[in-house]
């Protein structure tokens, strides 16, 4: 599926007004990409992508920034969701948003150094100077304390640093410092062959590998304008649903771990392990890596494998019903889940929150439905939503989505069986034509956490000129601190787990 949409090139002075106009007509910020195209056009270029969920439209606002004066008026003043993108562009490309409400370093920790690694003339291997952290004495009222947590946490989880401002038991505000695992993946991808970079893209995140691979493949395929074999499309769709299923089933367990409810934790972990062993059996990788390639898929499924998928998912769906029934019949669980970590629908709109977190706050937003890709356009499914926006809503959201996934897998398997039976003989891989340097496209897919958006611009000889990975976690992290105030610190792990955001695919 192609999302060319409408492109508007605006002057710097008109940027804010152009974005505001789009926001008033039902669009939301999808992603923003800064590119250093000085060697091609003599400019830095910023691309603001907007999406209108109801009308399935994509709009692009492009602004050229002269190399001699890399500044522009900040859009974050009117669209909070643009805040992180603009801070990141300032850190990595040195383009300064004027009037930005919070210009602390985001991606590169510590003191600002006058080095911008995503500029084309910055060598990939040149290390930045070591981080020098300076702690500032916070201004506190009487009775207030700061509780710092992380980056190395007590459990086996990813690194992030949280500073809770507390008065008594209640959290008054939360400041989350992320990007500890910023690996420079996008810079690494520059100059790589578009097909070879797939392995790199899959390493963006462990548990959204399929979704990232899909987004990336779709972006490259949109540039190349190629059609895929039907069998390849259905295998991709099946993988995407298998990924959602094992993530959501695991999350049911993880949420119970957040309150130390071991029955739910262990049952969830057991079912997740079963699903991961299924993944391993049918694809050779517990996280489903290596099957999706640019132009199609690397393998097809045999009858035996399809049957294995069908039987296992059916059994899991039946068990998850019994388990969640038992979990929700527990009074203590309900007491901890209800009214904890409420995320307002207004925050969802302001910060362009995506995925189950948005849907649990009553906002219908699912790219499978709004911008159908792979085989989703031909499948029947509904997008469940909940209204309360608390941990309970996000828990039930996942359960509801597990059942939808089950229905989808059933339909996909039927389609796939037809194709495998007739054996139409079309190759699973469509060869890539020669790509025009400078052409670009975005690819979107819905992971278990929300939509992943990949922007790919191709350079000479089928290589990547610029890759920008905007994961669902990147969109949702800025909204998490809004769900915390008013809760107690011991509830934070639970709230955090209910969003279930990755750090790795946010930080890249």
């Amino acid at each position: 599926m192609e999302y060319t949409g409408t492109e508007t090139v605006v002057l710097r002075a008109e940027l804010v007004k152009a974005c505001q106009r789009l926001m008033q007509t039902g669009f939301r910020l999808l992603t923003m990409i800064g590119t250093d195209e000085r060697e091609r056009t003599g400019h830095f270029i910023l691309r603001y992508y907007f999406a209108a969920d109801r009308t399935s439209q994509i709009a692009l606002v492009t602004v050229r920034i002269p190399a001699t004066d890399p500044t522009y008026p900040s859009v974050a003043t009117i669209i909070p969701a643009a805040s992180w993108y603009e801070r990141e562009v300032y850190d990595l490309l040195g383009i300064q948003p004027i009037g930005h409400p919070d210009l602390r370093p985001l991606v590169l920790h510590g003191q600002r150094v006058n080095a911008y690694p995503l500029r084309r003339d910055y060598p990939l291997l040149q290390s930045l100077p070591e981080v020098r952290r300076e702690l500032q004495e916070p201004a506190l009222d009487e009775g207030q304390f700061i509780v710092p947590v992380g980056p190395i946490h007590a459990g086996v989880i990813e690194p992030g640093h949280f500073r809770f401002l507390v008065a008594g038991e209640n959290v008054e505000s939360l400041d989350a410092q992320l990007f500890y695992t910023h690996r420079g993946l996008e810079k690494r991808a520059e100059g790589m062959h578009v097909a070879e970079a797939m392995a790199l893209v899959e390493q963006t995140c462990g548990v959204c590998s399929v979704s990232h691979a899909l987004s990336y493949a779709q972006a490259v395929e949109a540039v190349a304008q190629i059609q895929l074999a039907p069998q390849a499309i259905w295998i991709r769709t099946l993988l995407a649903e298998l990924e959602r299923l094992y993530n959501h089933v695991g999350d049911v367990g993880n949420l119970c771990a957040g309150i130390g409810f071991s029955f739910g934790t262990m049952q969830g972990a057991r079912l997740k392990e079963q699903l991961q062993q299924l993944n391993d059996d049918v694809t050779g990788h517990r996280y489903l890596r290596g099957v999706i390639v640019v132009g199609g898929v690397a393998k097809t499924f045999s009858f035996a494998e399809i049957e294995r998928i069908r039987v296992t998912t059916m059994q899991i769906l039946q068990e998850i019903g019994e388990i969640t029934d038992a979990i929700l019949s527990d009074e203590i669980v309900c007491d901890r889940f209800n009214r904890t970590g409420v995320l307002d629908a207004q925050v969802v709109e302001q910060w362009s929150v995506v995925g189950p977190a948005a849907r649990a706050s009553g906002v219908v937003r699912d790219v499978r439905m709004n911008f159908p890709y792979a085989g989703y356009g031909e499948l029947e499914f509904s997008v469940p939503t909940f209204q309360t926006g608390d941990v309970m809503a996000r828990f039930q959201q996942r359960i509801a989505e597990i059942y939808e996934s089950g229905k989808l897998i059933d339909q996909i398997i039927r389609r796939l069986l037809e194709l495998v039976q007739t054996g139409d003989g079309t190759p699973l891989l469509t060869p890539l034509p020669s790509l025009v340097p400078g052409s670009f496209a975005i690819g979107i897919s819905e992971s278990a956490r929300g939509e992943n958006v990949h922007f790919v611009m191709v350079g000479e000889n089928q290589t990547i000129y610029r890759l920008r990975i905007r994961s669902a976690s990147y969109a949702n992290w800025p909204a998490v601190p809004y769900a915390v105030p008013g809760n107690i610190i011991p509830d934070f792990p639970l709230i955090n787990k209910s969003f279930e955001l990755c750090y790795a695919c946010c930080d890249r």
């Binding site: 291997l125 930045l128 190395i152 695992t181 995140c205 049952q267 972990a269 392990e273 790795a504």
Partner: protein, 190 residues
């Protein structure tokens, strides 16, 4: 409550036999008992009983991994692998740890955390590098923001390759780390 008990009673045991988890070859049945060529289980129990008074405490350090290795470490705690029955425990503080399980290729933002965690770990200590990124042959490797391996900063005792390695492989890595530690323990006499 009744539903919970009912489900618990209905759920069949999903825990794999230790023999099956610890060995690559499938166990045989000999004289009515499970038996393996390389009896890792016996070695494991022997080591655990002599080296650390019967337990191994592991502290995990993420230095910039993609989250897959973390989930495989977490999978060790699920009912299928259930490493706590082998007296392996993930602890909250490096001061309680015998082994550091390091994942990821040391990003700039986490270098300080890795150093501090290593220094805070009591001697004798062993470092298990989990996954290609930590070992130093990861796909991302050295970039402006990442060093591409933990070797220049902490000594690696055991390497567990894979992207990510399977839980069984990580478990075998812990076993080898115990063997590495035997020497240090004998020296310090603790």
């Amino acid at each position: 409550m009744w539903k919970l008990i009912k489900k618990r009673l209905q759920t069949a045991v999903s825990t794999r036999p230790i023999e099956e988890v610890l060995t690559s070859q499938p166990p045989r049945i000999e004289q009515g008992r499970l038996s393996c060529e390389d009896d890792l289980l016996v070695r494991f129990n022997h080591l655990a009983a002599t080296v650390f008074g019967g337990s191994l405490h592991v502290r995990h350090v993420d230095t910039g991994s993609c989250n897959a290795c973390e989930w495989e470490l977490n999978a060790l705690l699920n009912p299928v692998y259930d490493v706590s029955r082998m007296r392996i425990e993930f602890v909250a503080s490096p001061r309680h740890a015998d082994v550091l399980a390091v994942t990821g290729g040391v990003t700039r933002n986490l270098l300080e955390a890795l150093r501090m965690t290593y220094e805070a770990t009591a001697w004798p200590k062993a470092v298990v590098a989990i996954g290609g990124c930590a070992i130093g042959d990861g796909l991302i490797g050295k970039t402006y923001a990442q060093e591409g391996g933990i070797a220049p900063f902490v000594p690696i005792h055991v390497k567990v390759p894979g992207c990510p390695p399977r839980p069984q492989e990580i478990l075998a890595g812990f076993l080898h780390a115990m063997e590495c530690l035997t020497h240090g323990v004998e020296q310090s006499g603790s």
